[in-house]
């Protein structure tokens, strides 16, 4: 009987240790994920609209394929612009090298916001930045600008 209760006690202890370890791992994985945003930048008035932009980088854990970089462009007044009037090209950099980009993605419907995300593949562990591009229609062609550079994140 005493032997039986000792086995039960051992099982309880094992479960307790497992729960504690699992909890720590959960906390650690949450703690590793991070997001960094650049400051907002502005184009000024282009063909009657003012646009804002910023770049974002997200890292989950070293070398995770879920790491991504995004660049957003929007009308600061919140008004919609016509389809194809604005575009963003998200670029993800690792240790200074361009490791992924979306190419310019245009708004295909009338809207006030566009945010492509470069997340197609893992680029390995390193220091990540997001530094995308935007394009806005000026009536005769497009104006192209660098968005703002995000702070770095280790991923």
């Amino acid at each position: 009987m005493r032997k039986m209760s000792g086995v039960l006690e051992g099982c309880r202890r094992t479960i307790l240790v497992g729960l504690v370890c699992g909890g720590f791992l959960g906390v650690a994985s949450v703690a590793l994920a991070a997001t960094a945003y650049s400051a907002y930048g502005y184009t000024g008035t282009v063909n009657g609209h003012d646009y804002g932009t910023r770049s974002i980088v997200y890292t989950q854990q070293p070398g995770s394929p879920s790491d991504w970089a995004g660049t957003t462009v929007y009308t600061t007044g919140g008004e919609n612009v016509g389809a194809g009037w604005m575009a963003a090209d998200a670029r993800k950099f690792k240790n200074g090298s361009l490791c992924d980009e979306t190419g310019y993605l245009y708004n295909s419907i009338s809207t006030n916001w566009e945010e492509p995300i470069a997340e197609a593949r893992a680029c390995g562990s390193g220091t990540y930045y997001s530094y995308g591009l935007i394009a806005v229609w000026n009536g005769n062609g497009y104006n192209y600008y660098y968005s703002q550079k995000s702070p770095s994140l280790n991923g």
Partner: protein, 145 residues
Amino acid sequence: MMLNKRRLAIGASAAVMGFAVVGAVTAIATGSLTNGDQVVIHQLPGTAQSATPGWPTNANGQTYGSLLKSTSSATDPDLVQVIATNSEAGYVYSSQLNQAAPSSPAAAVAQQAANTTGQFIPVYAQDGTTVIGQFEVSEPGSDAG
């Protein structure tokens, strides 16, 4: 004798047509990726202007470096530091990195819808001639708008 001449003429015509088709396809394939001169990317108005970086040069006299230091596409290095899809570190020509400017918003949307497979350009070693991989410059069309 007459038959041989006719065969020769047919063969020559076929060769010319083949050459023309290959040339046209090549022009279409590269035309959309090599107009870096048309697209000039600027810094946003009011952004603190950094000095144009002094790019290092390779043995062939081509400049190379990271676009993180770029201040304008007009002064970008010839070769841009990238990581190829096979994870190799290398360089792409900046002239191929900046895509064609659409002529209108409608053309931009149509061009995006037609891109169903993505577009790739070669990745070179620092010498600018040895191909070591490829880089995807444009993912298949989609948008958040």
